[in-house]
């Protein structure tokens, strides 16, 4: 059996995983498995293998629910009562989200105002954005 990646060497590493109820098999040769980090459990980035380089970084940032959204929805539907959260809202995160939302709207309006050469409005928007930036936590 040939390696799925380089398609020239014999595969020696066989990876099987279940995704959305379907079995997927990946066969790799020694060199390619090393390159993909399959032989080093800590460096093993399944995401890299499946989604290309970059996915692991997303997981690192805690963004796996975004990265894997498509496959996850099927799973969530099967394991829960619904697919949308209807419970508690974290007050602060909620506020930050609202502020971010307002910030986006203001920025868009500002760009529009500048494009229309409506400088008076633009100046006012700029001030509002400045004020809002003060309210937003630095962590974002």
């Amino acid at each position: 059996m040939l390696c799925d990646v380089c398609k020239c060497n014999d595969a020696t590493v066989f990876l099987t995983q279940i995704l959305e109820g379907k079995m997927q098999k990946v066969n790799l040769c020694d060199a390619c498995s090393k390159e993909k980090g399959v032989q080093d459990p800590t460096g093993f980035a399944l995401a890299d293998l499946l989604l290309g380089i970059g996915a692991a970084e997303e997981i690192e940032k805690g963004a796996c629910y975004v990265t894997f959204a498509e496959g996850l929805n099927v799973l969530l539907k099967a394991m829960h009562k619904g697919t949308e959260h209807v419970g508690k809202l974290p007050e602060r995160a909620h506020r930050v989200m609202q502020l971010n939302h307002r910030m986006r709207a203001l920025t868009e309006n500002l760009q529009k105002a500048v494009a229309e050469e409506n400088y008076e409005t633009a100046a006012s928007l700029r001030d509002q954005i400045k004020q809002l930036q003060g309210d937003l936590p630095n962590s974002s």
Partner: protein
Amino acid sequence: MKFSNVLATAGEWLRGEGPHHQVVISSRVRLARNLRSRPFPGWAKKAERTSILELVRPRVEELPEMQDSFSESLQDLSALDRQVLVERHLISREHAAKGVGSAVVINRRQTLSIMINEEDHLRMQSIRSGLQLKQAFKLVDKIDSALESKLEFAYDPRLGYLTACPTNVGTGMRASAMLHLPGLVLSELINQVIQAVSKIGLAVRGLYGEGTEAMGNLFQISNQTTLGEREDDIINRLSKVIETIIEKEHDARQVLLQKKPNTLSDQIGRAYGVLTYAHAMASKEALNLLSIIKLGVDLGAFPEERRFSIDELFIETQPAHLQKTSQQKLNAEERDHLRAQIIRERLKLFPRPDISKLAREPGNGSANGPSNNE
């Protein structure tokens, strides 16, 4: 607070007499939370876990509820001490296996325990005696709100609180009650109940949660789903189901009293006999027999004031507690010997079962036994 203080006092949930305490041993609610933009503990490297711990732990320790708390890194706890905490349900078996970068903070009354870097960055749980899921939720919800004002949690407007395992996403809440159901087990109705409960999206588990065996007629019932339903609704649904099971358990006991009084007297008498005279007792056997003695107290065969000493034995005869009491490492054989000795000594103060109290029951023709005071 030192570990010896934790050990010296039983958790309030064991001592307290919450509603329906004859059938419901304890109610627990846990919330799973994670920090935004940080890898989950399972993915995080040692340095990252440590930095998360350093960020979270002081915030937890400074909570007003955590004054004079027990706070310890997992790597600084011996394997035996961790096992003691597992037996008290203060940490999970998974957490006990953790090392560098994980910690636990427990309040003085042992009603609140916060695990840091378990499967999620934060696992906060509140435990109460009897059926008090709402009260347990209220406490842990308050803790969550207090922490949320200082830490930024991973939250998605659509998916709710993000958790390492998608089975917890949404509310991140698992509410559970530990039920003592000897009546349903003896009348062989327990499997029916388990099946019915599983069908409506609730889970039934053994003594120490997921993947553990049911011993001592103890069963944990919890919500299976966390997304698409409000916290209050989940707790109400669970409470209603538990109330129904309590009723079924009482019914089963009454039927046993009326139809099989001899079987019941025999079970109680044998349990009493073996526990009073045995010199080697495995943990599982002890739990199963103590369960029957507890049933005997419920049904009036033993005086009510002896209840607490039996409830205590459930915890004290667990392997780690035994070794902690004897202050030495014991092999299984030595443990079984010591366990039997402790039980024998405790039961010395126990009068013999008053079977006439049992026999009188069906004659009353009432659905409520003398000790069914709820």
